[in-house]
């Protein structure tokens, strides 16, 4: 039997990347889960083995000598040519382009690093889910089944609806971890494109939709009724907006 925690939280726990509350939660889970217990022992054995075998290779004496010699060399080395004007111009142009892109993609975001990081994480989670073999959830077009599965495996209730009549077919749901906290993802398919809607509880007030893009993916993020939603897909942005409206009016 597979364990969803084993894939998402085990390594975070092992690497001391979970906060106190989440770590305690995982420890409670581990008392009843043999698989996680066994895997944790395996991870510890592997780490001990790497340490005991002393495979860390410190710098060679000759490398240190060469670096010291270069650092104290009187004459300029061939590798250290002074920066030319066009280098600076190119760098300045690149910065300008980045600034323009940022301004265009998400005007509400550019002084909100946290939100931008979060969006990046969500897009990556979506991209990961498209990799072959990535299935950590339930495939079903029955909203009640998906909702039930998410409620059973997750720690919070998630609204799930099928919008097949509006062109968005429910494909299933899964659990993921974004920035160390569990999130639910409800998976739709619209016009041949997979659309993930990530959902997690929030303490923040309702907020209107904010949009952005990263790589080839667009996302729309909004908050309603103490839940945060983020829909992400490579589908037409209009379609993602439409799904947002459908979900917003049914929650």
């Amino acid at each position: 039997m597979r364990c969803d925690f084993a894939d998402s939280l085990l390594h975070l726990y092992f690497d001391v990347e979970l906060n106190g509350r989440r770590a305690a939660e995982f420890e409670r889970h581990m008392r009843h889960c043999d698989r996680c217990g066994t895997e944790l022992v395996d991870l510890e054995m592997l780490r001990d083995r790497l340490l005991l075998a002393q495979i860390y290779e410190p710098a060679t004496a000759s490398l240190r000598r060469k670096i010291n010699a270069a650092l104290h060399a009187a004459a300029p080395t061939t590798t250290a040519s002074p920066p030319r004007l066009w280098h600076w111009l190119a760098a300045a142009a690149a910065l300008l382009i980045v600034a323009l892109l940022l301004g265009r993609v998400g005007p509400e975001f550019h002084n909100d690093d946290y939100q931008a990081d979060l969006a990046a994480e969500i897009v990556d989670a979506h991209a990961r889910s498209l990799q072959p073999g990535h299935l950590n959830g339930i495939a079903s077009n029955d909203a009640r089944v998906v909702k039930g599965w998410l409620a059973e495996k997750g720690t919070f209730a998630v609204p799930v609806h099928d919008f097949a009549n509006d062109g968005f077919n429910l494909k299933g749901g899964r659990l993921d971890v974004i920035e160390g906290r569990p999130v639910a993802a409800v998976v739709y398919e619209g016009n041949g494109h997979p659309i993930d809607v990530f959902i997690w509880p929030t303490r923040e007030r309702d907020s209107p939709p904010r949009t952005g893009s990263r790589q080839n993916f667009k996302w729309v993020d909004w908050r309603k009724g103490k839940m945060e939603f983020c829909a992400v897909s490579d589908a037409d942005p209009v379609a993602i907006e439409q799904l947002h409206h459908l979900m917003n009016s049914s929650w």
């Binding site: 894939d7 085990l10 390594h11 975070l12 690497d15 990347e17 395996d42 991870l43 592997l46 780490r47 083995r49 790497l50 005991l52 075998a53 002393q54 495979i55 860390y56 290779e57 410190p58 710098a59 060679t60 000759s62 490398l63 240190r64 060469k66 670096i67 270069a70 650092l71 060399a73 009187a74 004459a75 300029p76 080395t77 590798t79 250290a80 002074p82 990046a120 994480e121 990556d124 989670a125 990961r128 971890v177 974004i178 920035e179």
Partner: protein
């Protein structure tokens, strides 16, 4: 190299040089050959020296390792591009080796671990070296490799799984 004035050079020696071991170790595991690692680590250090004025404090190790890994990948692209494409190096797939009994068990395991680690794709090797040998946090790994934290997490678990199975393969028959 002498772009730096005396004060900068003192700071460079104080902040960056303590991490030469980390730089060499990462290059050694990314490139798999010590001679190449020495050459590339040296080049990375020279580069670090040249860019040092752009370093405004913070984590000097992460800053240096970022330069090292970028230099390693550029070097691989130029000299051994095939390695960046292979998912799993069959030639280096660890085989069960029968070693003379006189050989110390630690050495034997060291050899087996090295071969198993070298059989993984470069980005898995890199992430394992940073986490297990350098003790970097996920945040530091994300900064060094310029990949998002979520990807660090998922790559690390996949890398560990691959290393584990490479080791299991190599020990079959050798130690029952």
């Amino acid at each position: 190299m002498n772009d730096l004035d005396a004060e900068d050079r003192r700071r460079f020696e104080q902040l960056v040089l303590p991490h030469v071991d980390a730089a060499f170790n990462l290059a050694r595991w990314l490139l798999r050959r010590r001679e190449d690692a020495e050459e590339v680590a040296q080049e990375a250090l020279l580069r670090a020296c040249r860019f040092f004025r752009g370093f405004h404090g913070g984590d000097a190790r992460a800053w240096l390792l970022q330069i090292v890994r970028n230099t390693c990948y550029s070097w691989l692209e130029k000299n051994r591009p095939r390695e960046l494409m292979v998912e799993f190096d069959e030639e280096l797939h660890p085989q069960a080796v029968s070693t003379p009994e006189s050989m110390a068990i630690a050495n034997e395991d060291r050899e087996r671990l090295s071969r198993a680690l070298e059989s993984l794709p470069p980005h898995f090797r890199e992430i394992l070296v940073l986490r297990e040998l350098e003790g970097c946090s996920y945040k530091e790994i994300a900064a060094i490799t310029s990949i998002p934290i979520g990807t660090v997490m998922s790559s690390l678990s996949r890398a560990r799984r691959q290393l584990h199975s490479a080791l299991t393969d190599s020990s079959q028959g050798a130690c029952p």
